[in-house]
């Protein structure tokens, strides 16, 4: 099982796609933090909730980690590497577990890079503008911990989604439209439902203040439930489906 996880980890690292995702993510996080930090009025950057949202852009990592998770499964089907993968390891459940673990670990790296870049850029801007940091150490701790846990779980969630929708383009469309269209709309209009969704769970985990979000611990449980349900469903589907 350890060998299988090492193999999956090498799969993530050995193509340039992952490097591209990391670079794109870091550039996006820094860009948004800089634009927000430079153009916001000083009075808007003093409040704790505004500072928190300035420093929390690292949670964009969930999108990129989710993409990496989806790709870890769907590229196998797109390029046919699923055949040698299963010839070497006929147990599809074990392959899926190895992918979940490897992507979870990759998600930690994604979040550390993104949150690290976002935090450094945000703090530098606050310092440069002579604004005091009004967030407590606890706030920042929750932000960092929540982003890491949320992103790692989103990577695993991506693996589950990819194992359910093995068509790469289809899975990516579902993932992106879920994050950017479905969740924001549902949360805006029916927050009592939207708060149970995995993206809002990450917001809750990072300590973003909103009357509608779940408590951080509940949000963590909800995320684990999402990731594991998708993986269980994907596993059931993969066990029944022939590989061509």
């Amino acid at each position: 099982m350890i060998g299988l996880m090492r193999a999956e980890s090498l799969k993530i690292r050995s193509t340039r796609t992952t490097l591209g995702l990391l670079a794109g993510m870091t550039a996006l996080v820094v860009l948004v933090v800089v634009l927000t930090g430079v153009f916001a009025k000083s009075s808007d950057l003093i409040g704790t909730s505004n500072q928190l949202s300035l420093l929390s852009y690292g949670s964009f990592a969930i999108v990129f980690a989710g993409l990496a998770g989806v790709l870890l499964v769907t590229s196998e089907y797109r390029y046919g590497t699923i055949r040698p993968t299963l010839l070497f390891n006929p147990s599809r459940a074990r392959v899926l577990i190895a992918k979940l673990v490897a992507s979870f670990l990759a998600g930690i790296i994604f979040s550390v890079v993104a949150e690290g870049a976002g935090l450094i850029a945000g703090l530098l801007i606050l310092t440069a503008r002579g604004l005091p940091l009004t967030l407590s150490g606890g706030d920042i701790g929750l932000l960092i911990g929540g982003t890491i846990a949320g992103t790692a779980l989103w990577a695993a969630l991506g693996v589950g989604l990819g194992s359910l929708i093995r068509n790469q383009v289809g899975a990516l469309i579902v993932l992106l439209s879920w994050i950017f269209v479905v969740e924001p709309l549902v949360f805006a209009f029916v927050p009592s439902v939207g708060r149970w969704f995995p993206g809002q769970a990450v917001n809750a985990l990072t300590g973003l203040a909103s009357a509608h979000l779940l408590a951080p611990a509940a949000a963590a449980a909800v995320l684990v439930l999402w990731a594991s349900s998708l993986a269980v469903a994907g596993n059931a589907l993969m066990a029944r489906t022939d590989v061509s």
Partner: protein, 298 residues
């Protein structure tokens, strides 16, 4: 002695289509078997079931006495190449092998070893997208050899190979068999593998048509003549008019029973039909294959 591969009443249905129909055969150690049949005969589906990638509708396929999925670290016993497309284009050949090897605890050094074996060591660090089709076939073969298996299963390994590549593969497989290993090699044509295999299984429409040694197949008093024309339908009618038994292959070739090439040539000449190919007893092997795998023309 139990066969290394035992296939029993293997059946696969896709909806109403029966791709593999009650197929049974077994392979003994040290043989090189050609698994032959026209495209769509069910060869790949059979191999996929043999290798645990597809589930049989009925029957079973055992390798080394067990279903493939029950083998512990199967690549140490069975090496398989199904298609030359199982690579991520953005990954190097060496990383592809390392990734597979690591998954079952084969050291990275073995990846370099098999790359030398298939003469790809010069391209080891290049991305697969820069590989030619022949190089991809060899990379597939390298992955099958990683575990130094006893049985090699190759699906259409000569597809896309240039003549030099075919010769290289033939020499390689002969050397492999001399080392006591067992090889199952599928192909849509007999010519591709005739010089390599010593036993043939011919299937058509998912059913076993012939199981014999190569010698039996060539020495059988088949006597069919293989011929082609730019006007195959006219030729077919002209030959049938002479009460000859003619079978037609999907590619337009005709297998004629009970007539010499001279007589067929004369019939065609009299009818004014141009012939593009007329091959007699010398290649009755191809004639037999054609007859066994072609549709009985109605």
């Amino acid at each position: 002695m139990a066969g290394i591969v035992v296939v029993e009443s293997l059946t696969k249905r896709f909806g109403r289509v029966v791709a593999v129909d009650d197929l049974s055969f077994s392979l003994e150690a040290g043989t090189i078997t050609g698994f032959l049949g026209p495209n769509g005969a069910g060869k790949t589906t059979t191999l996929r079931m043999l290798l645990g990638l597809a589930r049989p509708t009925h029957g079973r396929a055992l390798v080394f006495g067990k279903p493939y999925a029950r083998l512990r670290r199967p690549p140490l016993l069975v090496g398989a190449v199904l298609e030359a497309t199982g690579f991520h284009p953005g990954r190097s050949g060496r990383d592809h092998l390392r990734m597979l090897g690591r998954s079952i605890g084969i050291p990275d050094a073995r990846a370099d070893e098999v790359l030398r074996l298939v003469e790809l060591d010069g391209a080891a660090k290049r991305l697969v997208k820069g590989y030619s089709l022949g190089m991809r076939q060899r990379l597939g073969l390298a992955s099958a050899l990683l575990g130094d298996p006893e049985l090699l299963v190759l699906d259409e390994p000569t597809n896309g190979l240039d003549p030099e590549g075919v010769r290289w593969l033939r020499d390689f497989l002969r050397a492999t068999a001399q080392g006591g290993k067992t090889v199952l090699i599928s192909s849509h044509g007999l010519a591709e593998v005739a010089q390599t295999v010593n036993r043939v299984l011919i299937i058509n429409h998912g059913r076993l048509v012939v199981e014999s040694t190569l010698e039996e197949l060539t020495s059988s008093p088949d006597g069919s003549v293989c011929t082609r024309s730019t006007q195959p339908q006219r030729l077919l009618h002209a030959l049938r008019a002479e009460r000859l038994e003619v079978t037609e292959a999907s590619d337009g070739a005709l297998a004629v029973q009970g007539a010499t090439p001279e007589r067929i040539g004369a019939i065609a000449c009299a009818a004014g039909i141009p012939l593009s190919e007329l091959v007699g007893q010398a290649s009755s092997l191809e004639g037999a294959f054609l007859r066994l795998t072609s549709e009985v023309a109605s």
